[in-house]
């Protein structure tokens, strides 16, 4: 099992969710985050005061999936979150040791 974490542009969230559903991913967790990377921040001007905003708003999508789905999932996210412009984000893949469904106590593949 793998945990796929993707940092994407906020307005791409719906497309990414649809693409993941289409390949059979059963659930995702979404968090609003801020960060900086190669995409530069911007300046904001309030009357005489100028502030540089380095941290840009992004969305973090987390999905726990079966290992067989990994390549498809990566491809789905890559395609759906792509705008071709700097700041599209990154995908991180982790090994996942154990999954438990709280309601039934099912584990691993059965819990995904």
């Amino acid at each position: 099992m793998k945990l796929v974490t993707a940092i994407i542009k906020p307005f791409k969230l719906d497309e990414v969710r649809e693409a993941l559903s289409a390949i059979g991913v059963q659930g995702i967790t979404v968090t609003e985050v801020k960060g900086f990377g190669r995409q530069k921040g911007h300046t904001e001007l309030y009357r005489g005061a100028e502030y540089v905003v380095d941290f840009l708003p992004k969305v973090k999508v987390e999905a726990a999936i079966k290992t067989e789905l990994l390549e498809q999932a990566i491809e789905a996210i890559e395609k759906s979150a792509n705008t071709g412009k700097i700041g599209d984000g990154k995908i991180f893949v982790f090994d996942l040791e154990k999954v438990i469904r709280i309601r039934t106590g099912e584990t691993d593949a059965a819990a995904l």
Partner: protein, 493 residues
């Protein structure tokens, strides 16, 4: 803090006891007079002749205006300021405006009105109207009258008291923007009592107190009546709705406060971005709306002067919004909402002393100049001043107020489309002073106000500092005044 509360309680109870004594004294000689059926003239300035009754249209308009000006403080100014601070200080800003507004309203009725608008010397009024005594005679059902700007056109004095109360209160509230996000609530209250008493009431008296048109019955009494008016009124300075009394007065006091209270922790290093500019836009819009009461209401009658003031207020503000917006777009790259809202306030401030004192052409110029000069005021000038005037009270109110007051001297002239001024109150003759002469008189009024309020503000802040200290502890300031001073949080999200 507890000491302060106890002190206030004692002071208040003493004041009440004093006033009841004063009323008892008054009541004693009054009673026989009332029993002696003949209408004994109240030994005051009211005439014995059958007095003309107030015009109902005037009264209705002035009551409406009063409510409009109340709305300028709560909620308009509170929203305007509240949106510009960080979210951790949002409630402190709203709370300071709300409570200072109420505090000054109470002080106004206790002694403020009397000090500002009764006969005294050229600087202070007297104590004739403590606790508004004498404005309403419960036994006879008589209401005292206040003067307007037309002969035989009185207004219920209580209406005038209420209208002016809202001015006193908003002026004090304006100062709060300069010391936002870092002043103790208790220090705010102490400062306000002192500054209101020793700066607002005397400046209002100096600029606006006079004996009224009906007192000018004969050329022989003109000098005597003039001598009873406030100092700046005697000089001949024009201030329709409070360029000096309200805006320069509060703006300069704010700057003094910004210096004495000191900069916010992290000023210039950390981002101090406005937390909710939609609130600020709402506030600015409500200020614009309420300002029709402020300016057009200052005509004290529902007449042509009010109409002129209304249109000028409307137009100059729109001009200033455009001037600030395009100025910012040109010099700073982008036209911002905060800029447009600030432009509106700048235009409103600049047109305040001019409202019924200039023509439409004057309103165009004052509006555009107000927008551009205040844009400069919050940028270049602010950098020169090296003060953390958090919400630009000086840059907008003092600068815009002074600009408006000076331009009033120019555009009042009938040769520049202005309405001119009454040169002879006995006959009501209207004329124009030479432009340069009037400009210098205006400058004199502006200078006097700046010096007076700066000195009073300095002393008042120092006294507040001695009694309770001006600033909360560093930790409290970092945590935010909402939690530290008021024990609550604006947003739970």
């Amino acid at each position: 803090m507890k000491k302060l509360c106890a002190f206030l309680a004692v002071a208040l109870s003493l004041a009440f006891a004093g006033s009841t004594l004063a009323q008892d004294k008054k009541a004693a000689p009054d009673k026989p007079a009332a029993e002696a059926a003949k209408p004994a003239p109240e030994a005051k300035k009211e005439e014995a002749k059958p007095a003309p009754a107030p015009n109902k249209g005037d009264v209705a308009w002035m009551l409406t205006s009063t409510a409009l000006v109340l709305m300028m403080s709560v909620p308009a100014l509170a929203l305007f300021y509240g949106g510009m601070v960080r979210s951790k200080n949002a409630l402190s800003m709203l709370m300071q405006v709300f409570v200072v507004f109420s505090l000054v309203t109470v002080l106004w009725c206790v002694y403020g009105y009397s000090l500002a608008f009764t006969e005294g010397n050229a600087y202070f009024g007297g104590f004739d109207r403590l606790f508004l005594g004498g404005t309403f005679d419960a036994m006879k059902g008589d209401f005292a009258m206040a003067a307007t700007f037309s002969k035989n056109t009185p207004l219920y004095e209580l209406v005038f008291v209420a209208f002016q109360a809202t001015f006193a209160a908003i002026t004090c509230c304006l100062i709060l923007g300069a010391v936002a996000e870092r002043i103790k609530f208790s220090a705010v209250l102490i400062f306000m009592v002192l500054w209101f008493t020793f700066s607002y009431t005397p400046i209002a008296h100096m600029v606006w107190f006079w004996m009224g048109p009906d007192a000018y019955t004969d050329p022989k009494v003109v000098d005597a009546m003039n001598a009873k008016a406030g100092l700046i009124w005697q000089w001949g300075a024009l201030d329709f709705a409070g360029g000096t009394v309200v805006h320069i007065n509060s703006g300069v006091a704010g700057l003094v406060g910004a210096y004495l209270v000191g900069k916010r922790i992290g000023y210039g290093k950390e981002a101090m971005t406005p937390h909710n500019l939609t609130m600020t836009m709402l506030g600015a819009s409500l200020l614009w709306f309420g300002w029709f009461g402020f300016n057009a209401g200052s005509a004290l009658e529902a007449n042509g002067s009010a109409a002129l003031a209304f249109m000028n207020t409307f137009l100059a503000t729109a001009c200033a919004v455009l001037a600030w917006t395009f100025g910012e777009w040109l010099f700073k790259g982008k036209p911002s909402m905060l800029g447009a809202a600030s432009g509106a306030v700048a235009g409103l401030v600049a047109i305040t002393p001019a409202a019924g004192n200039v023509g439409i052409g004057g309103a165009f110029v004052i509006g555009i100049a107000g927008g551009l000069v205040c844009l400069w005021g919050v940028n270049q000038l602010k950098r020169w001043l090296h003060a953390d005037d958090a919400l630009d009270v000086f840059g907008i109110h003092a600068v815009g107020g002074a600009l408006g007051a000076l331009l009033t001297g120019i555009f009042n002239s009938q040769s520049l489309g202005g309405p001119g001024l009454v040169t002879d109150w006995v006959t009501g003759k209207v004329g124009s002073n030479p432009i340069w002469d009037q400009f210098l008189i205006q400058a004199q009024g502006v200078g006097m106000t700046i010096v007076w309020t700066a000195v009073v503000a300095f002393i008042a802040f120092k006294i507040a500092d001695l009694i309770v200290g001006l600033r909360p502890a560093e930790e409290e300031e970092r945590e935010g005044l909402d939690i530290a001073e008021h024990g609550e949080t604006a947003y739970h999200m």
